[in-house]
């Protein structure tokens, strides 16, 4: 070589670049090294796992419960449960990073082949990979998820991904009632008093009810399950409501699963200043309403799940006035009745000047609504119902009107009328109802909006529908959507880009 100096210089530069590359990549590798950490919880040895599905999280098997669901679309009124079937459900904690999920359909699954799978909320855009009888995908945040197979609602996989628990209650505190992992029966129920905390550990299945009356500063926490499987259907007589607060204040309920209630599931009556966080409900039996708030004030239910065989979220006046209710970031599946209902009972307590006001349903996804209206106010008494809002609602499947719902199949239904649930003889009014950013992705019917006042004096006044999209089509004016309107004034439909 004529100019070895240049060769040496070139090699020196390359060596320097390689050294720099090594240092740079080492630093990046250390800084961004991926960690996926999960905590799996075994189930009681007395509980049989799902026969139709297995779950592997980060390559390790996680227990899959077999829970009752009800694809029947008719309440025959005789507490018939012949349509009840089973579906898989599992939960775990996502501690760090992303969890790699692998659902395997067993040979006992009713699906002869696995062609597709969709993870709800669809808005999260979770891609699935199908291989043989395995569904693989990644979860990057705690939340509630439902996996539907081959476009069917059958044997949907319910997956509850929790954040790690923080600030655990002190097990040795006499005011902490601590339930360890295992299957437990407490048939007489747990009556909580002021200042007490009930902690239900992950891996616990407790056959009991939890209630409080005239109490304050009460907590129910944990990742375990309250299960009503030891009781027959309530049949109008013996309702064993899993969680029931009456005349309470300063309530915190977090993390638990409510399963297979023999009646309605989470009930609060005349209760105020409450936060219900990450509570999951699955019901399959008659009158299995999800979260029922009766005459409550300053009450928030958020980041939870309800798959129910009756109304999923419902607000009523059973005593004094309702005010300040927030349902936020919920995943719903309504097998029967309404998804988000105000009513029918708006003055069951027969109070003078009854009012039900300031209810907000926000950031809610309805995976399936199979029966009656998705968003509804049924003012069946004489109350003033006002300032009710629905914001950022996605209805993934509005397959309404099945079974005995018949023509009560509206997407939105605001009605003032007497009904079998009425207490007062006179009728009320509905004022200021707003719908904003409502998206319906699919459904079998042409979704209808019904605004049905009772008469000129008992009418609906002030309904605003903004940015409603049905099957991809923006609804810019009233004529763009199927409606049935009577005794309703100041109804506006608009679109803001």
């Amino acid at each position: 070589m004529k100019h070895p100096f240049f060769l040496l210089l070139l090699l020196l530069l390359l060596a320097a670049a390689a050294t720099g590359f090594a240092i740079w990549s080492k630093q990046n590798a250390e800084a961004t090294k991926g960690v996926s950490e999960v905590t799996l919880f075994d189930a009681p040895s007395t509980i049989a796992p799902s026969k139709t599905a297995k779950l592997f999280v980060n390559g390790q098997e996680s227990f899959v419960y077999s829970v009752f669901v009800n694809p029947g679309r008719e309440n025959k009124g005789n507490y018939d449960v012949s349509t009840v079937t089973r579906s898989p459900m599992a939960y775990f904690d996502l501690v760090a990073g992303k969890a790699n999920i692998d659902i395997e359909l067993t040979e006992e699954s009713s699906f002869p082949s696995l062609d597709s799978a969709a993870v709800s909320p669809l808005a999260k855009g979770i891609a699935t990979e199908i291989e043989g009888r395995h569904i693989r995908f990644t979860i990057d945040a705690p939340g509630q998820y439902v996996v539907q197979i081959n476009g069917s609602a059958r044997e949907a996989f319910h997956l509850f991904v929790n954040a790690p628990e923080e600030n655990l209650p002190d097990k040795t505190n006499p005011n902490v009632l601590w339930i360890e992992p295992g299957e437990w029966t407490i048939p007489d129920g747990i009556q909580l008093k002021s200042g007490q905390t009930l902690y239900i550990s992950a891996g616990a299945v407790v056959h009991t009810t939890v209630s409080a009356q005239f109490g304050s500063n009460i907590k129910i926490r944990g990742r375990g399950m309250i299960d009503g499987g030891i009781w027959d259907g309530w049949k109008g007589q013996d309702a064993h409501v899993p969680v029931d607060f009456r005349y309470c204040s300063d309530i915190y309920v977090e993390g638990v699963i409510i399963n297979n209630s023999n009646a309605w599931c989470f009930n609060a009556f005349e209760t105020e200043n409450a936060l219900v966080e990450n509570v999951k409900i699955i019901s399959a039996r008659p009158n299995g309403d999800g979260f029922t708030l009766q005459s409550c004030r300053n009450f928030t239910v958020q980041n939870g799940f309800a798959r129910t065989w009756d109304d999923s979220l419902v607000v009523k006046n059973y005593g004094t006035n309702t005010d300040g209710i927030l349902f936020r970031n919920m995943l719903l599946w309504t097998d029967l009745a309404q998804s988000m209902e105000v009513g029918y009972e708006t003055n069951k307590g027969e109070q003078p000047d009854s009012k039900l006001s300031n209810v907000l349903f926000q950031d809610i996804t309805v995976v399936n609504a199979f029966h009656k209206p998705v968003m509804s106010i049924h003012n069946a008494d004489d109350a003033l119902v006002e300032h009710i809002r629905w914001e950022n609602i996605t209805v993934e499947n509005a397959d309404l009107g099945n079974g005995d719902a018949k023509d009560n199949n509206q997407l939105i239904d605001l009605t003032i009328a007497g009904s079998g649930w009425s207490t007062t003889k006179t009728r009320g009014t509905i004022r200021d109802v707003q719908f904003q950013n409502i998206t319906v992705l699919r459904g079998l019917n042409d979704p209808e909006i019904r605004l049905m006042g009772y008469d000129e004096a008992h009418n609906i006044d002030g309904v605003s529908i903004q940015n409603l999209t049905i099957y991809g089509e923006p609804i810019r004016k009233l004529e763009d959507v199927k409606t049935d309107i009577q005794f309703a004034d100041s109804v506006t439909v608009g679109w803001v880009e």
């Binding site: 007395t46 339930i179 360890e180 295992g182 992950a202």
Partner: protein, 202 residues
């Protein structure tokens, strides 16, 4: 090229190879996700148990007085009820179903259909541990015609405790009446009067 130049070249080439290799190694590490799985186990069981803390204390049962319950077959009217807790549940013969009134005052009126005499009245609530102890304030009146009532029991606070049967047995002088009206004025455990069974004995 001289020998020392060849040696320097060799060293630099080794440095390039080593640097590139280390860089590629860490690039691979960069994409690697370490999977950590914690598992919480559950002690084995053969059957569902009751946690020690929740093993119930012994509850005393309410024992009704001997004789027939005169309210059986009577007609009951209520001033109102809440939810599904209808008035007729107070005389349906089941101690776990109950009437709950809708605010105060609330009344239950029992029409025997004929004049009769009683000396004991039992007011019961469901004998279930889930019921907290409570006090109800009541008055009791009697009537021959269902319209004109006279006092039998003046305002009185009655203690109900599930651990002792969740019932109150009142003894009165022999009372003759065709109709009895019980008025509930307060209840420390609910927003209305509550009765699972109201019973009368001679």
């Amino acid at each position: 090229m001289k020998l020392y130049q060849k040696i320097i070249c060799g060293v630099l080439i080794l440095a390039i190879a080593a640097g590139s290799g280390v860089g590629i190694y860490y690039m691979q590490r960069w994409n690697h996700v370490e999977e950590v799985v914690n598992r919480v186990t559950v002690p084995p069981q053969t059957t569902a148990e009751t946690p020690e803390r929740f093993v119930p204390e012994e509850m005393l049962a309410f024992v009704p007085p001997e004789g027939n319950n005169l309210a059986k077959g009577a007609k009951l009217t209520e001033s109102g009820h809440t939810d599904v807790y209808f008035g007729n549940k107070a005389i349906d013969g089941r101690d776990t179903t109950y009437w709950e009134g809708n605010g105060f005052p609330a009344t239950l009126t029992i029409d025997f259909g004929a004049e009769l005499t009683f000396t004991k009245i039992a007011l019961r609530l469901p004998p279930l541990r889930a019921w907290s102890a409570r006090t109800q304030t009541v008055t009791i009146e009697i009537s021959m015609d269902g319209e004109n009532f006279s006092p039998l029991l003046s305002e009185q606070s009655l203690p109900f405790d599930p651990m002792t049967g969740n019932a109150v047995l009142l003894t009165v002088d022999a009372a003759q009446a065709a109709v009895v009206r019980v008025t509930f004025l307060a209840n420390s455990g609910a927003g209305g009067g509550q009765v699972s069974e109201i019973m009368f004995f001679a």
